[in-house]
Structures are given as structure tokens and as C-alpha cells.
């Protein structure tokens, strides 16, 4: 049914006529807040779809408003049906695929063949296009950088409607603005990326308790040279001497000799069946959870684990965001640069706890060199990510955290953001001007915009 005109299926358009019925459907990001009027339209033919609808959404794992239509817009193109593998060369590991291909499928197909994505975020339910747009990073950032470093080429439909193939050598400005560009420079149609050969599909991991934040940061740095993958969880509720206590995770691919067997497919996932009431996530319950988690790891461990256990612990529970109740939550992720000194994480945690901010375990990671993507998030320093339930005071808390990050010279991750104020965000990153110049060049009429870009850039 290629002939089916897309316009006919659009329940509205950018400027709805007076007789357009009011839109009843809504969209939100992974944090389930904010909720905005809008509709996602999916089709296998992403090329055709993006002619009319330039902003694209993948699997909806951006937490905030990055993949939501801007105020006044209605439709967003869903890429998940554009999920074909266009080519794969087992001698080089180079994969070319449509932008909606999920990392979950890549794992299923390529782990048994001895290949893995060069970079993985903390969930496998993301699309290739989303990984490009957010220039995702993972536990190996200190060694392998962000996803963009491994991308060879992109096919992009720009704001003017033209389809452009770009790479580090061809239309490099468009390429590096699209890597980490949150989909604002064009719709990514297909992606060429080099998968990494692995000795076995299993992971050898080590977990160790850290008594406070300073020990933690030192241990992360200490592991840099010997471990290709590191990260950790910190308990943001404990204060005083044990502030920032937690569990460090170090890992590497298991050798063929260590592997317990071939890659076991088919992972069944239980799902959170309903929205938790708000009291379920109060300070005492979070404290209890954090204590149990810490105690469970008291002795540490060394073992060979399934790669999903290592990379995707939260994917084991479907719809876990329901724990945060119907108001949803926001994730806050920042990087505190090396120049801010070794005490910056402690100062950040103090700013958080002094304002009553409570989060389940925060994720902490030391970042390596900055990527070339114009808005790429990581830079050398310590990254901290927390989940914050949406409550009346959440905006004030985010403002305070942003002010703290600004004082340290750090910045935040747009893939997570829902609430940052434009003045805060824009003061965090000197690269924004250059990014906006490139964006304007490829989309002079400002056709491509999201709720997030309208909030942070005004278009």
C-alpha cells in the first residue's frame, strides 16, 4: 500500500484548520513526563514518512521531551518499522542498517556470531537512529568513546527535504552535528557502524563495595588502565562519612575458555503490572532499597555473567517506569569535568542531599575524551545519573543541580533532560553556537524541531 498518501493518515498538521477535530492522543518520553498532545506515525518507508514529518522518534527511550513534537506541531515519525539490515560484512564487522533497527535485534543476531555494538547504553531497547542522535556512551567510554566514533556514514533527510549521505569526509559538518544532534539536523534514515568482534558472548565481571565517594572515584580512575568497562552505583541517600558509598562494577569480555557455553537466546522479562502509588517511592523505601543493595554486595563478587545481566540490568523488568507512579519521573545526568577537581562529585551529592533529593541508586562513571559530535555529552570527568520522581519541587531541584553543575563547569545530557531552563543549558556548552549554525544551514526554515529544542533553543 505504498500509494496510501501519508497526509490522509495525519490526524492534524502543523497549523490545524478550524475544522480539524481536537487531538485526543498524547505522547511522552520514557520518564512519562511531560505528556504532550501528539501522535506517532509509523511506517516501513521512513523515507516517505519523513517527507511530511521531519522529526523522528525511535523506541521512545529518551527520558524527557527530546522525541516529542514542539508546541503547535502534532505528528512525529516513528522509525521502528524501518528496521532492515542493508548489509553486513563479517570480515570487517561493518553493518549498514535502517535507522529503526533496534539494539535488541542487533544483540540477538550478532552476539551468537561473535560481534557486539561498539558502544551500548544501559538499555538494548533503543534504535540505531536514537543511538546516533544521542551519541550514546557506555561502560567503555574511557576506552572507546561514544557511538559516533564508530559510525562510518549516515543517510539523512535534512530540513529542506534533500537526502544526503554524510561521513567524517563528506559533509562533515552535517555528520558531526547529527552525531549527538538529537535529530534536529535531519531525520537519520540509515546508519553504517562497525561492530566489534568479541572473544565470547559472555562477560567477566567484578563487583566491589566502596565506602564513600572519594574511594569510589579513585577506584574508577584506578580501573581505567586495566578494565575496558567500568561503572558503578552510588547510594545518594547516605550522608557524612559514607556519602557516596556504593558498588563498583568492572568488566571485560570473557575469553572463549571462560565462557560457560554458547549464547543463550530468549530472555523472558517480567513486567511491572501497574502504576505504583506515590508513597511507594518515599525516602524510607528508597533508603531500605539502597541499604539492601549495599549489604548484598558487601563481600563483592567475581564471576562470568550473561551480557544482559552486565549491560542491561533494568531491561530485565518490563515497564519499570511504573514504579514512579502516574506522575512519572525525570532522569538527571551531568558530567563534572576533571578541571573541577576530585571533590566535585562530593559537592554535587551534597547539593543533592541538602535539598532532599532522593534517588534510587545513582549511576556513576568516569568519562574519557570528548567526542567530535557537536553536542556530544561526555567529556573527561565524572558522570552522575539520577532518577528523580516528578513532584511539586522537582523543577526547583533541577534548577539547583544545574546551578551546581554550572559552577563546576560541567554539562547535562539532553537524552535525559525534561526540565532544564534554556539559560542554564546554554551557559553550559560553548559548542552550541556552532551547532545551531550548522542546523540553520541544513534547515533554514526551521522545519525540524522538538519540544526539547523549542524549550532550549527557541526553535
Amino acid at each position: 500500500m505504498t500509494a496510501k498518501p501519508l497526509a490522509r493518515r495525519l490526524p492534524g498538521s502543523r497549523s490545524p484548520s478550524p475544522d480539524t477535530p481536537p487531538l485526543t492522543s498524547t505522547l511522552s518520553g520514557w520518564g512519562r513526563a511531560p505528556v504532550v498532545p501528539g501522535v506517532e506515525i509509523r511506517d516501513e518507508d521512513l523515507r516517505a514518512l519523513t517527507k511530511d514529518i521531519p522529526l523522528v522518534r525511535g523506541l521512545g527511550r529518551a527520558y524527557g521531551d527530546a522525541a516529542l513534537p514542539a508546541p503547535g506541531d502534532v505528528a512525529i515519525a516513528g522509525s521502528t518499522r524501518a528496521d532492515r539490515i542493508l548489509s553486513f560484512d563479517p570480515t570487517t564487522g561493518i553493518l549498514r542498517a535502517e535507522a529503526g533497527l533496534s539494539l535488541d535485534t542487533i544483540c540477538d543476531l550478532f552476539l551468537p556470531r561473535g560481534f557486539f555494538t561498539p558502544i551500548t547504553p544501559g538499555t538494548r531497547f533503543v534504535t540505531l537512529g536514537g543511538m546516533v542522535a544521542c551519541d550514546v556512551h557506555g561502560k567503555n567510554h574511557h576506552v572507546d568513546g561514544t557511538f559516533g566514533r564508530h559510525v562510518g556514514a549516515l543517510t539523512v533527510r535534512t530540513g529542506t527535504g534533500q537526502i544526503v549521505t554524510c561521513s567524517p569526509d563528506r559533509h562533515a559538518d552535517l555528520f558531526w552535528a547529527t552525531i549527538g544532534g538529537m535529530g534536529l539536523t535531519g531525520a537519520v534514515l540509515d546508519v553504517t557502524v562497525r561492530l566489534t568482534p568479541i572473544p565470547s558472548p559472555w562477560i567477566f565481571e567484578e563487583r566491589e563495595c566502596m565506602s564513600d565517594i572519594d574511594t569510589f572515584v579513585t577506584a574508577l580512575k584506578g580501573a581505567q588502565a586495566t578494565w575496558p568497562m567500568t561503572a558503578g552505583w552510588i547510594d545518594c541517600l547516605s550522608g557524612g562519612r559514607s556519602m557516596g558509598r556504593g558498588v563498583i562494577l568492572r568488566g571485560r569480555w570473557a575469553t572463549a575458555a571462560e565462557a560457560p557455553g554458547p549464547f543463550p537466546g530468549g530472555y523472558r522479562r517480567p513486567s511491572v503490572p501497574f502504576d505504583f502509588p506515590e508513597f511507594a517511592l518515599s525516602r524510607p523505601t528508597i533508603r531500605l532499597f539502597n541499604d539492601v543493595f549495599y549489604l548484598k554486595h558487601r563481600r563483592g563478587s567475581r564471576r562470568v555473567v550473561h551480557p544482559y545481566t552486565f549491560f542491561y540490568p533494568l531491561d530485565a523488568i518490563g515497564r519499570w517506569t511504573r514504579m514512579y507512579g502516574t506522575r512519572g519521573f525525570t532522569q538527571y545526568q551531568c558530567v563534572l569535568p576533571e578541571a573541577a577537581g576530585p571533590d566535585a562529585p562530593r559537592r554535587f551529592l551534597t547539593a543533592l542531599t541538602s535539598r532532599g533529593g532522593a534517588s534510587f541508586l545513582c549511576v556513576i562513571k568516569d568519562c574519557g575524551a570528548e567526542g567530535q559530535g557537536l553536542l556530544s555529552f561526555p567529556r573527561p570527568g565524572i558522570s552522575i545519573a539520577l532518577d528523580i520522581p516528578m513532584r511539586d519541587h522537582t523543577q526547583a531541584l533541577i534548577d539547583a543541580l544545574n546551578e551546581q553543575v554550572l559552577r563546576e563547569g560541567g554539562r547535562i545530557y539532553l537524552a535525559k533532560d525534561a526540565l532544564s531552563r534554556a539559560e542554564h543549558y546554554r551557559a553550559m556548552d560553548p559548542r552550541i553556537g556552532h551547532f545551531l549554525d550548522v542546523r540553520r544551514h541544513w534547515d533554514p526554515d526551521g522545519r525540524i524541531r522538538s519540544a526539547q529544542s523549542a524549550r532550549l533553543f527557541g526553535w
Binding site: 500500500m1 505504498t2 493518515r9 490526524p11 506515525i41 509509523r42 511506517d43 516501513e44 518499522r81 532492515r84 539490515i85 542493508l86 548489509s87 553486513f88 543476531l109
Partner: protein, 245 residues
């Protein structure tokens, strides 16, 4: 397994093709857009299909393309044992009532031409000693219903044909599988409000492949639709006249 698929570029057909590919089937994709067919073929190769996935042009709106397409698939695959047809047209009742030309195209594609294609495929399969012909019809063909009077009529005719075919030719080794999906979330139904029992193309594909393996003559997908349609079939006309579905 050597399979010919019509409609593998999208939706349910794409999901069926991927399932068969992961089991190492040899496949030939038939469809109306060569570039799209080739892209889907490369995808299926990367997902485990045996050898090179071949393609041939075949437009369900144009019966003149059928013989050549089947002959080309037969030559490329060196014979085939299974034919799966998921290709079809859909439009809302409202549009079909308003646009007679569209209605004619839909009736031709879903009924006349699909049956013409199946006749050609049947002859070819029987000449090789039999095999499986699996065709996707719809629950829309079970009862005359207000929202799908016209599309449903095309599928009702198709279902009747497939049942007859099964009765007549199963003894000679031709197994006919008639698939009756309920609402499935594909691009065909994008923009329509999804009912609570909506299925995914992947789940429907799993049932289709199992039905092919077992030679089940009629399969509802998702399975719950067997129960729903059992009840709907029992409803008296007076009730059907009053309800909206």
C-alpha cells in the same frame, strides 16, 4: 524449506519471512517494487536465510505478472514447496464507499487476483508433488459487519475459496492454510484506533509458521480471535444489525 512469499516487504509478511529466514529457509520474494524487494532480501540473508534470497516482480493488481514471477522463482530456487501470500489491499469502509475506483482495485486485488495467483501456485505445487499454500485472509470475512462491509466481502470470498481448495486437494498432497488475523498493528492499520486484542506482526507470524509446520487448515491470530469469532458467528442477525462492530 523452499518458500515463495508475496508481501514480505512489510508487516505480517516481513515478520513471517524473518521467522523462516532464522530457520535457514531458501526464499524468493515476489512483489511490485524491485528496490524494496532487494532491500528486504539482503535483510533476510543477514538474518540467516539459506544462500542468496532471490526476488521477482509480481503485482497482485496485475495477473499478467503471475506466471513469469512463479517461473522465475521456480528456476531460482530449483523448485519450491511452500507459497505464502500476505499481500493485500486495505482501505476504510468510508473511503471504499466514496471511491468506486479504489473499491474495484481492492476487490480485484484481494479476491479475483489473489485467487488467480493461488490457482497458478496450486498447479505448480501439485506438479511437483504437492506442498503448502498459506494465504492470509481475515476475520473480517467471517460475518458481514458494518465497519468492513466491502473489505470483508473480499476476504469472505477468499476464505471460501481456500476452504474448498483444502477439501479438494489435500488428498493429493496440497495443504492449504487459511490465516484469519484480527487487528494487527502494522502500517495497514496505522492511524486506526487499536482494539484491546490487537496483535503484533511477530506474534501473528509465529502462529502462521506453526500452522504451516502442522498443516493447520484454519488459524486465527492472535489466538484469542478464535473465541471472539466463535461468539460473533453465533450472534443472530438482529443483534448484528444493532451493534457497531
Amino acid at each position: 524449506m523452499k518458500v515463495i512469499l508475496v508481501g514480505a516487504t512489510k508487516g505480517i509478511g516481513r515478520a513471517v519471512a524473518r521467522r523462516l529466514a532464522s530457520r535457514g529457509a531458501s526464499m524468493s520474494l515476489l512483489g511490485r517494487d524491485k528496490a524494496e524487494l532487494e532491500r528486504s532480501a539482503r535483510d533476510l540473508e543477514a538474518r540467516g536465510a539459506a544462500g542468496r534470497v532471490v526476488t521477482a516482480l509480481c503485482d497482485m493488481a496485475d495477473p499478467d505478472t503471475f506466471d513469469a514471477a512463479l517461473a522465475s522463482a521456480d528456476a531460482d530456487l530449483d523448485g519450491f514447496d511452500t507459497v505464502v501470500v500476505t499481500a493485500a489491499a486495505f482501505a476504510t469502509q468510508e473511503r471504499l464507499e466514496a471511491e468506486p475506483a479504489l473499491l474495484r482495485r481492492l476487490l480485484d486485488t484481494n479476491f479475483t487476483n489473489t485467487i488467480l495467483f493461488c490457482e497458478a501456485a496450486r498447479k505448480s505445487l501439485l506438479s511437483h508433488g504437492g506442498g503448502t499454500l498459506c494465504v492470509v485472509s481475515s476475520v473480517a470475512g467471517e460475518r458481514g459487519r458494518k465497519p468492513v462491509v466491502l473489505y470483508g466481502a473480499s476476504k469472505a470470498g477468499l476464505s471460501a475459496y481456500l476452504e474448498g481448495l483444502d477439501h479438494k486437494f489435500r488428498p493429493q498432497g496440497l495443504v492449504t492454510v487459511c490465516v484469519k488475523p484480527g487487528f494487527v498493528t502494522t502500517s495497514m492499520t496505522e492511524g486506526l484506533p487499536a482494539p484491546p486484542l490487537a496483535g503484533t506482526p511477530e506474534a501473528v507470524a509465529a502462529r502462521i509458521v506453526r500452522a504451516i509446520d502442522r498443516g493447520t487448515p484454519v488459524v486465527y491470530a492472535p489466538g484469542i480471535w478464535a473465541l471472539v469469532m466463535f461468539v460473533i458467528r453465533l450472534l443472530p442477525r438482529t443483534v448484528m444489525r444493532r451493534v457497531g462492530f
